[in-house]
Each structure stands twice: as structure tokens, then as C-alpha cells.
Amino acid sequence: MTTAAAAYPTRWRAPSIFGSPGRRLAFWALVAAYLVWSLSTLNVDTARILAGLPRAWTILARMVPPDFGRWELLLTGMVESVQIAIAATIIGAVLSIPIGIAASANLSPRPLYLLARGFIVTGRTFHEVIIAIFFVKLFGFGPVAGLLTLAFSSAIFLGKMLAEDIENMKPGPVEAIRATGASFGQTFFYAVVPQVLVKTLGVLIYRLDSNLRHSTVIGIVGAGGIGQTLSASFSRYDFDFASAILLTIAVMVAFGEWFSDWARRRLR
């Protein structure tokens, strides 16, 4: 009787993802050890954080109400950001087609495939802001550098997604078209494009949305757009104007996201 009661516990416990209590303990010990190590190396100055809290309040107080008085400056920067995003997406889309074809294992020869994959890995590693620095150096301050930065990173992102779609497509249609004696171009347009088009358009719209987000920061290193205005207003302690810019960016990005969701739903 007593053994049966012990076999069926009266209190149920949810099964743990760690498997055994020992592993759970080890996991949390690791987390605690990491926290101690990282916080000790970071030199977190608690006094300065405490001093920062009232300052945070002052800054927040100065951010409200947002100052839309210089709306012309705001509008110019915003329009520039949107233009950079649109133009970069289109240029990036065009450039991504050769990259995507070169980076798909089933269409391109091995050396070209490896070269393209290496290019994609290297390009994806660096944050847009780092790439922007180089384009600012090459093409001077202004929206051109921003446009080229986002076109470059879009081409790599879209190329990678396109390559994955091409690799995942059904081989049947390609073989069927090849069997008719079609050239590479004909095979591509009649067998590959119909299979990947809808998905690629979806990714393209998504990229337009993320380019809109990125175009708001590349201005920090001088590559045009609203980021330049925002960074300037922060360095001049112009917090009420900065909050107006932040709100506009939030609205713009939210709208971009809504549009992207809507357009991708329509595609399906």
C-alpha cells in the first residue's frame, strides 16, 4: 500500500526541459557565474547609474511635449530616408539576381558557388553602419553613400534568400525545360522564375521594410537621411525635437511594417 502511494505522487510537477535536476542546477550555476564574470569585467559604475536616473527623468521631461516646430527639417530628412530605402531596394533587387544565381549550388559551377557564398558571408557579417563608413569614405558625405550601403546589403540579403529558394525548388520543371534543348536563359525564365517569383517578391517587400528602418540610422555616420538630423539634435541636447523625430520614425516604421504585412498577405 505504501509503495503504491509512493509510486503515484500526489503532487504533479511539470517535466523539466533540462532532463534532470542536476542539469537544471548546473545550468543556473553557469548563468550565475556568467553574470558575475561579465558584470565584474564591465566595470559598471553604480554611482553613475544612480546619477543617471534623475537625469533620465529630466531628459524625459524635456522630451514631452515633442517639438514639431521644425517640421520642414523633419520632413526633408524623412523623405530622404524613404527615398534611400526605395532606391536601395530596387538597385539591391537587380544586383541580387546574379548573386542569387551564382550562390545556388544546383545552377552554378562549384568555384563560382564558393566565391559567391564567401562574398555573402563576409558581406552579411558587417553592420550597415560599418559598411556606410566605407561608402562615405568613397563617395563623400550624403545620401549617395547611404543609398549604396543599403543597396549593397540588400543585394547580399536578397541574393542569399534567392539562392536558398532556387536550391529548394522542384528539379522536375528544370529538367523538363532542359530536355527541350532550352538555353540557360530560357531554363531560368521558364523553369526557375515561376517557382521562386512569389517568394522572392515577399522577401523583397520585407527588405523594403527593413531598409526603411536602416535608413534611419546610417545618417549617424554621415550617410544621409533622418539619422543625421536625429544625431545632431541629440548632441545639441535638443531633446524635444529629438522626441518628435523618434515619434515620426516610429510611425513611419509601423506604417512600413503594416504595408509589408498587407502586401505579403496579398501575394499568397
Partner: protein
């Protein structure tokens, strides 16, 4: 019985044309309208950007100049950047950890089936939008203004941006949770908190962990530039090197960033493949 030549007899012939056409006329018109729209958008964007074409003329010379200054990399600089690289990883990891803690309640607030009413749902959604629409670097600007330059501002910036990202994906997972399990637990007389913990949390846990690791991988990349606005990490040294035109130093930093980002990406991909 005489076979009357019916007018419909000819109709099937017309339905199958001799020549195969890929698109109907209507489809082609729609395609041209789309292409025209895209062309107009491109023309408007590029023309209004006020491009200084003269800059393109000497860009290749500038690029060659840059590469000649970068090569050979100054490897003796490597020991100096180890500590900032570790700091960059700390900013990404601590920021993600803080974000997970805050993202969970926000996700429950922003999911239609666990939020209390329309108002709390709207609050949850507003938090998602605000957190996600402001880039990590811009959050960095804001927190540097508050806490002063340093890694604390970076950690806060990473956390502020990641909360919305993680919470959005988790909220979507909560909305797709199996309702049967919730009902089963509710029928035992469990409190709301118990329902969340026992019926919902185990179902969304893979999504929460997978998303957090994915976001950590992104955050390693993001924290490499937070130093540009003074929020700690390796970006501080990169920005300083570039401003001093110490390009042979900058290339060492870039190679180091390449290394840690690739490692973090591989690690993230490995862990996610084990979980999901």
C-alpha cells in the same frame, strides 16, 4: 438523325490557340502597370537624392587608396582589442538576458488570447511597435544621453530593441497555442498564473529559446557598432581608428568582428537546430 452543325462546335477550336502564350493580355497589362509604378518610384527616389556624380569619378582611386592604407594589417594591435571584444559579447548577452525577462510579460499582454481586454492589448502592441521601430543604435543614442557613455548604455539599448523583437514572435506563438491544454488545466480550477505556467509556457518555450538565441546572434552584430554613439564595445575603437585614419588598425578590428560574428552565427545555428 442528321447531325446539325452547331455553332458551338467551333468554340473548342478557339479555346486552344496554336501558339502557347504564357500570360493573358490582362496579366500582361497588370505586369506593365507594376513595372511602370516601380520605375516611377525608382526615378523619383534617385532624382530627388541630388546625387553628386563627380564623387563617382574618383571612387575607384579612393578605394585603391583605402586598400593600400589597410594593407598590411597591424597585427600587433590585436592584444589591445581582446578586452573590448569581450565587452561587445557581454553587451549582447546581458542585453538579451534582460530582454527575455521583460519580453515574456509583454508577449502575454500583446497576445489576443492572454491579454485582459482591448486596452491592455493595445498597450502591449504599442510597446512592441515602439521597441522594434527604433533601431538599436538610436536606442544607444538615447541611453548614452541618460547614463553617459559606456557599456551600460549599450546593454540598455540592446535590451530595449530586443524586447519588442522577442515579444512579437512569442506573442504570435501564444496566439497559436493549443487551446485544449488551456481548457484542461482551467478545468482543474487552476488560477490564471497557473494556466500560463503549466498550459502555455511549455508550449511556447521552444519559440522563446529559439528566438532569444537568434536575437543574441543579431545583437552581437549590433553591439559591434554601438561604440559609434559611445555605448561601449569594439565600435569605440573602430570609430577612433577610422577618425585617426589608422586604417591598418581598422582592418584588424574588422577581421576580429568578422571572426566573432561568424562564430556566434554558427553557435546560434547549432543550438537552434538542437532545440527546434
Amino acid at each position: 438523325m442528321t447531325a446539325h452543325p452547331l455553332p458551338q462546335d467551333r468554340a473548342p477550336m478557339r479555346r486552344y490557340p496554336d501558339q502557347w502564350e504564357r500570360y493573358s493580355l490582362r496579366e500582361r497589362i497588370v505586369q506593365w502597370i507594376w513595372l511602370g509604378g516601380i520605375a516611377i518610384a525608382a526615378a523619383w527616389s534617385v532624382s530627388a537624392l541630388d546625387i553628386e556624380w563627380a564623387f563617382f569619378a574618383d571612387a575607384h582611386e579612393q578605394a585603391a587608396d583605402l586598400i593600400s592604407r589597410m594593407w598590411p594589417p597591424r597585427w600587433s594591435y590585436l592584444p589591445r582589442i581582446v578586452q573590448p571584444l569581450i565587452e561587445t559579447l557581454h553587451i549582447a548577452t546581458l542585453g538579451t538576458m534582460i530582454a527575455i525577462v521583460f519580453a515574456l510579460p509583454v508577449a502575454f499582454l500583446a497576445a489576443r488570447n492572454t491579454t485582459y481586454n482591448q486596452a491592455t492589448w493595445l498597450i502591449g502592441r504599442a510597446m512592441l511597435v515602439l521597441s522594434r521601430s527604433i533601431n538599436t543604435v538610436i536606442w544607444g543614442l538615447l541611453f548614452v544621453a541618460i547614463f553617459g557613455p559606456g557599456p551600460v548604455a549599450g546593454i540598455c539599448a540592446v535590451a530595449a530593441r530586443s524586447i519588442g523583437f522577442i515579444a512579437k514572435l512569442v506573442a504570435e506563438a501564444i496566439e497559436e497555442v493549443d487551446a485544449g491544454q488551456i481548457e484542461a488545466v482551467e478545468s482543474t480550477g487552476a488560477s490564471t498564473l497557473q494556466v500560463y505556467g503549466v498550459a502555455i509556457l511549455p508550449q511556447i518555450l521552444p519559440v522563446l529559446i529559439g528566438t532569444s538565441i537568434y536575437r543574441w546572434d543579431i545583437n552581437v552584430r549590433e553591439s559591434s557598432v554601438l561604440g559609434f554613439v559611445g555605448a561601449g564595445g569594439i565600435g569605440l575603437l573602430l570609430y577612433a581608428s577610422i577618425n585617426q585614419f589608422a586604417w591598418s588598425q581598422a582592418i584588424v578590428i574588422l577581421i576580429a568582428i568578422l571572426g566573432i560574428v561568424i562564430i556566434s552565427e554558427a553557435l546560434s545555428a547549432y543550438v537552434r537546430s538542437r532545440i527546434v
